[in-house]
Amino acid sequence: MLVCKGLTKRYGKNPNALESIDFSIPSKGIFALIGRNGAGKTTLARILATELIPSSGSASIDGMDVVADATRLREQIAILPQEARAIPWLTSKQSIVSYLLYRGFSLGESEERAQSALARLDLQDYENKLTRILSGGLKRKVLVATILAADSRIVFVDEPTTGLDPISRADLWKVLEELKKEHFVFLTTHYLEEAEKLADVIGILDSGKLLGLGSLAELRKQAGYQYSIRTQQEDVKTKEGIAIRGLDGSVQILTTEEEAGRLAEKLVKDKARFSINPTSLEDIFYYLVKKPIEEENYEEE
């Protein structure tokens, strides 16, 4: 289990970066943490990865406290920091080998693991190239390969897919899906479809507070609105739920199953074009973090 109790982090005199976070989730599968810039995702990942000391509260993974049992925990964790950069004077393989040596592997084993990790991410052509000359996305991939090569039971990846092309990203998703069978992956991302696709549990963080936690289905239930209707008919009125005006003037309504049915019937009658879908993570994110309201789309009963 990953357990946080009243976890709070303050940097100097700034306002709290994390404010009394309480939750517990199983330490298996993929946990995806989403939230706006500055929400506190990296701070939480760094505390759990034993890099930062919490200002108050506590956290533990599998019964090991991140402060008191840090030494034991470190045997089992590996982190790809958000702001990590490949060291330019090392080749891809040298980067991975040196990290594995820090983890305590022998030189021989490190070299073997480095090679297979590079192959796993389709980087074998860059094995002996200085990372200095690789493209930005490839540099990022080398770092991802570095963390994978360690094969730690608990893996923190802070925005691993930022800067990757769509094909590389999909490849990495496959790797993470494979990885989660035997590892616990703590993932942060700004790509909501990534969280939706990969995560067993999703956490939504905003201004240091946890606004939502659970599987996608559970988050839908928490939000209370399971369906999303999108239509060009601007004067559509709903009795329940929330309406969001899109940039193109379309209206999106998040609502209950019952109200969605009623609205759909009405839109059919009006011969309006519309689509109806289960609420996506993006919808929930907007709802929880931004709470947008378009007054003219509400109907009083």
Binding site: A49, R74, L80, P81, A84, I87, W89
Partner: protein, 244 residues
């Protein structure tokens, strides 16, 4: 076994791979301690040759710490290597030891030339050699601990430049390491005593017969250098911001 891997990792990242992949760095480390040596030897018409060779050895030890400070901060702030290492089985102590070794390896070309010069031109007894080695080890430990401590407080390269300038002035410009302290006029001599390097230089110069210090002054030199080194080492281990 595991610890030796961890130490080796630092030597690779911060020395061997740098030297292998960026050979130009070799030239620089080779020339830095030798350049002042050449100047001093020329100006003194050769009379300070032995003392400047010792000075250059001390300088190389001090530079290791100053270099470490910059290297560690660069690895920490620009690549987040330290974050990755903190969350790994490598401890702060092992990381520091590894990086200390890496600085030795990195200075190896210069050290080798200096050792050859020392064997040729510095004439002293076995005891003199032992004392010189001991004082070099001391000043190395001192500067490594200081470099490690400072690096954990720096969050930006601009801070490092400030540390770099400060350390160079205090540890290598002010102290009389390439010439005897008696060359400095008296009131200013006390300023030199503000730098721990001065004490190390006195011990080394005494060991090779350039200075004749009374036993009491020598004892004070040793006490100061040992105390400062130990204090810094403890601070580096306790007060360093290894974990923020």
């Amino acid at each position: 076994m595991k610890k030796s891997s961890q130490v080796y990792a630092s030597v690779l990242v911060n020395a061997l791979y740098v030297m292998k992949n960026y050979p130009v760095t070799l030239v620089n480390t080779l020339l830095a301690p030798l350049s002042i040596l050449v100047v001093i030897v020329l100006v003194s018409k050769g009379s300070l040759l032995a003392v400047s060779v010792e000075g250059a050895l001390i300088m190389t030890m001090v530079s290791a710490g100053i270099g470490l400070q910059g290297d560690l901060s660069h690895l920490k702030n620009d690549f987040r290597l330290q974050d990755m290492v903190v969350s790994s089985p490598t401890s702060a102590f092992v990381y520091m030891i590894g990086m200390a070794f890496s600085e030795i390896v990195y200075s190896a070309p210069a050290l080798m030339i200096l050792i050859v010069l020392a064997m040729l031109y510095v004439h002293t007894s076995i005891v003199g050699v032992a004392v010189t080695l001991a004082v070099l080890a001391m000043i190395f430990t001192f500067s490594i601990a200081l470099g490690f401590l400072l690096s954990t407080f720096s969050s930006d390269i601009v801070q490092n430049w400030a540390f770099f300038g400060l350390l160079s002035t205090i540890l290598t410009t002010i102290p009389p390491i390439y010439y005897p302290i008696t060359y400095i006029p008296l009131p200013f001599r006390y300023i030199a005593y503000l730098s721990p390097t001065t004490y190390a230089a006195e011990i080394a110069q005494n060991a090779i017969g350039y200075l004749q210090l009374p036993a009491s002054s020598l004892a004070i030199d040793w006490i100061v250098i040992i105390a400062v080194t130990m204090a810094l080492f403890v601070m580096a281990m306790r007060k360093s911001k290894w974990r923020e």
